[in-house]
């Protein structure tokens, strides 16, 4: 099953490569990966999604915790959480297609953020499933380019991932 793991890591050179290297070294998959500094400039936050059974996920979290640069981590999928991914998509939009695409964007609560005579750039956020569904709705034929941010996530309620 898909897991979302959030990792607080020292904002130090080479720290990210240790995390990524661990996955390839031990034969684990990374499906998505996002990294950015946090409000504390000494820390970065990595959110990654991976797939595996409980045994594999336990090993992944143990090995991540073993890395000296990893300060804290949480498997968000263990509790209630909010998951978001941002997607920018460039689609053909001419003739009758133009109105159809616009309707689709409205249904999925996306925004059109750039327009030319023949295409739209659409911005859409949501769970990965929602983004997948949007791509399917628009149809492969009209898609020119897709860029996805990878999953970000945060737990619901009182739980906080911080020092």
């Amino acid at each position: 099953m898909k897991r979302i793991i959030s990792v607080l890591i020292e904002n130090a050179p080479g720290a990210l490569s240790r995390v990524v290297g661990l996955f390839s070294q031990r034969g684990y998959n990374i499906e998505t990966l996002t990294v950015a500094p946090t409000e504390d400039e000494t820390l970065s936050r990595i959110t990654l999604t991976t797939v595996g059974d409980d045994h594999k996920i336990e090993q992944i979290t143990k090995h991540l915790n073993k890395l000296i640069d990893v300060v804290k981590l949480v498997d968000l999928t263990e509790g209630a959480h909010i998951e978001r991914e941002l997607m920018l998509i460039k689609v053909k939009a001419s003739g009758a297609q133009r109105a159809e695409v616009k309707r689709c964007v409205d249904i999925f609560r996306g925004q059109i953020v750039d327009v030319t005579a023949s295409l739209y750039v659409i911005q859409i956020t949501g769970t990965s499933d929602k983004l997948d569904a949007f791509l399917q709705a628009v149809g492969e034929a009209s898609i020119l380019e897709v860029v996805r941010s990878g999953v970000s996530g945060i737990s619901r309620g009182e739980k906080v991932l911080s020092l």
Binding site: P13, G14, G21, E58, Q59, H63, I68, V71, K72, L163
Partner: protein, 578 residues
């Protein structure tokens, strides 16, 4: 505050950390550091003949003393040559700090002369690594490196230092920190008391227990605690290849090594056990054989300082994360205070069964190899070595059949006496690690058990032995072939000896020794083995190489049946299996 250059700060920090010996090899990017070494007397540098040997020597030094081994190499090829030794230390959790020179900061990334991304290349085989960006950080980084290398589950740490950082021109205030705190690194110490209580309960209820103890017991200085606990409980003990010596090898309760070349009694007892107390071990594939068939009726208590080791390959019923020392102390106290005691009747019956296995196929009740023939049997060489050195020697080994014979037949009574590359299986480890041991224990008897294949992988170190008067004794089991490769080719490839025979290409080791200023001895007859070996060890201040011509067709037994075998499925000889 004293003002020092980066190079001087580095060496001063080593001194203040308590480092006495550094094993290394100079080169362009490390020259400022070597100049700093030249201008002081506290830290002694040992010049090896190949950087791989520097890491193995520091490794042997660390294994024999429990202190952190220190290595200094230059950038590029110096750094990459150290990689095999770093990987060796990583696999066996040996505390080591490797300092590598790097090209000047502003050339990094430009494919400069002798540039290698050392932090990148070493990343999967280090516990941690540092790239020094400012000279002022040197004292703190050194402190952190030694702290990380030696605490928790020990391991190698790399410090990569660009040449400009160690330059003599600029100076910085020097102060060595007393302690260091790393917010993201808090190695486990005490185990969970509730879990330890559960474990004690299981142990006291068990009827067929086995204590399975490994290198973690030695690394964690838990040998005495483990021995006391095992004796109080009267439970049988088996050691992994890495754990030999953590329980006295000549003790009645010792079953010998377990695993692929473990004894019949150790492997069979494991298979039939109902409770296994696993301490400082990692259920390596060379121990478990087929994981799915591993000890089907056993409840497993697993003590380890590294949570990632627990339930990695074999699920633990009672996992205990903590230092071996603290957990065993607490466990022993609980056993003492408990109203319950082990079921004496059941344990007696279990010992009766084990003794019957020992009688049937044990390695130590009667020789399980041909003692009648003309040729010198490798097993006899190790037994003679044990006799001549009174079981007191530090024994290092290389990798292959000779390593297994040494592990089986030199019964180690003390920890830190058996020094071998268990996890990585690095040929070439034996001689340089023996140098490291001898450097740490100048008066000790140090023997390197090797083969004519392995010894040639780091044979250049004979010159280092000359330079530093390291009188190690090299016991070479010469069978004119890569013995373990040949054994597998016999067993699995119908005797097709692909690239495993030396034919007539071996050097004359006696002459070779003489050219280095050492003593070489060739032993060809069985009846002269003991006298020659006594002669060898009587030359206390000389390096002596015993080229012992052993039986060329002998195999190491027992050997696990693989694939799909369980712990108890073993070949006992070329024709006999369980």
């Amino acid at each position: 505050m004293e003002m020092l250059s980066g190079g001087d700060m580095l060496i001063r920090a080593l001194r203040d950390e308590g480092v006495k010996h550094v094993f290394g090899y100079p080169g362009g990017a490390a020259l400022h550091i070597y100049d700093a070494i030249f201008r002081q007397k506290d830290v002694k540098h040992i010049l090896v003949r190949h950087e791989q040997a520097a890491t193995h020597a520091a490794d042997g030094y660390a294994r024999a003393t429990g202190q952190v081994g220190t290595v200094l190499v230059t950038s590029g090829p110096g750094a990459t040559n150290a990689i095999t030794g770093i990987a060796t230390a990583y696999m066996d959790s040996i505390p080591m700090v490797v300092i590598s020179g790097q090209v000047v900061s502003e050339r990094i990334g430009e494919d400069a002369f002798q540039e290698t991304d050392m932090v990148g290349v070493s990343r999967p085989i280090v516990k941690h690594s540092f790239m020094v960006k400012n000279a002022a950080e040197i004292p703190e980084i050194v402190k952190k490196a030694y702290y990380i290398a030696s605490t928790g589950r020990p391991g190698p740490v790399v410090i990569d230092i660009p040449k400009d950082i160690t330059a003599p021109g600029e100076t910085f205030p020097y102060e060595y920190p007393d302690k260091v705190k790393i917010r993201s690194y808090n190695p486990a110490t005490r185990g969970h008391t509730g879990q330890i209580r559960k474990a004690v309960q299981l142990l006291l209820e068990s009827k067929r227990p086995v204590i399975y103890a490994g290198g973690g017991v030695i690394q964690g200085n838990g040998s005495d605690l483990l021995t006391d606990l095992a004796r109080r409980l009267n439970f049988p003990v088996t050691n992994t290849l890495m754990g030999l010596g953590c329980y006295p090898g000549s003790d009645r309760q010792f079953l010998g090594m377990l695993g692929m070349h473990g004894t019949f009694e150790a492997n069979t007892a494991m298979h039939h056990s109902d409770v296994i107390l696993a301490v400082g071990v990692r259920f390596d594939d060379r121990v478990t054989n087929t994981v799915g068939k591993f000890c089907p009726n056993a409840k497993i208590i697993h003590i380890d300082v590294d949570p990632a080791s627990i339930s990695k390959t074999v699920a633990a019923d009672v996992p205990i994360v903590g230092s071996v020392e603290s957990v065993l102390t607490e466990m022993h106290a609980m056993v003492k205070e408990s109203k319950e005691q082990p079921d004496a009747e059941a344990i007696k019956a279990w010992w009766k069964q084990i003794d019957e296995w020992r009688q049937r196929h044990g390695l130590y009740t009667a020789p399980r190899y041909n003692t009648e023939g003309e040729s010198i049997m490798p097993q006899d060489v190790i037994r003679t070595l044990h006799e001549v050195t009174k079981g007191e020697a530090y024994v290092t080994s290389d990798v292959g059949q000779h390593q297994m014979f040494a592990a089986q037949y030199y019964l180690f009574d003390k920890p830190r006496r058996w020094i071998n590359s268990g996890g990585l299986g690095t040929m070439g480890f034996g001689l340089p690690s023996a140098m490291g041991v001898q450097m740490a224990h100048r008066d000790a008897v140090v023997a390197c058990v090797t083969g004519e294949g392995s010894i040639q992988m780091c044979i250049q170190e004979l010159a280092t032995c000359t330079q530093y008067h390291l009188p190690v004794k090299i016991i070479c089991l010469n069978n004119h072939a890569l013995g373990m490769v040949k054994q597998w080719q016999d067993m699995q490839y119908e005797g097709r000896y692909s690239e495993s025979l030396y034919e007539e290409t071996l050097p004359d080791f006696v002459k070779l020794m003489e050219s280095y200023g050492h003593v070489g001895m060739k032993v060809t007859r069985k009846d002269e083995l003991k006298a020659k070996m006594e002669e060898c060890f009587a030359m206390k201040d000389r390096v002596v190489f015993m080229d012992i011509q052993v039986d060329q067709s002998e195999h190491v037994y027992p050997m696990h049946v693989a694939p799909n075998g369980s712990m108890r499925d073993m070949w006992l000889s070329k024709t006999e299996r369980t």
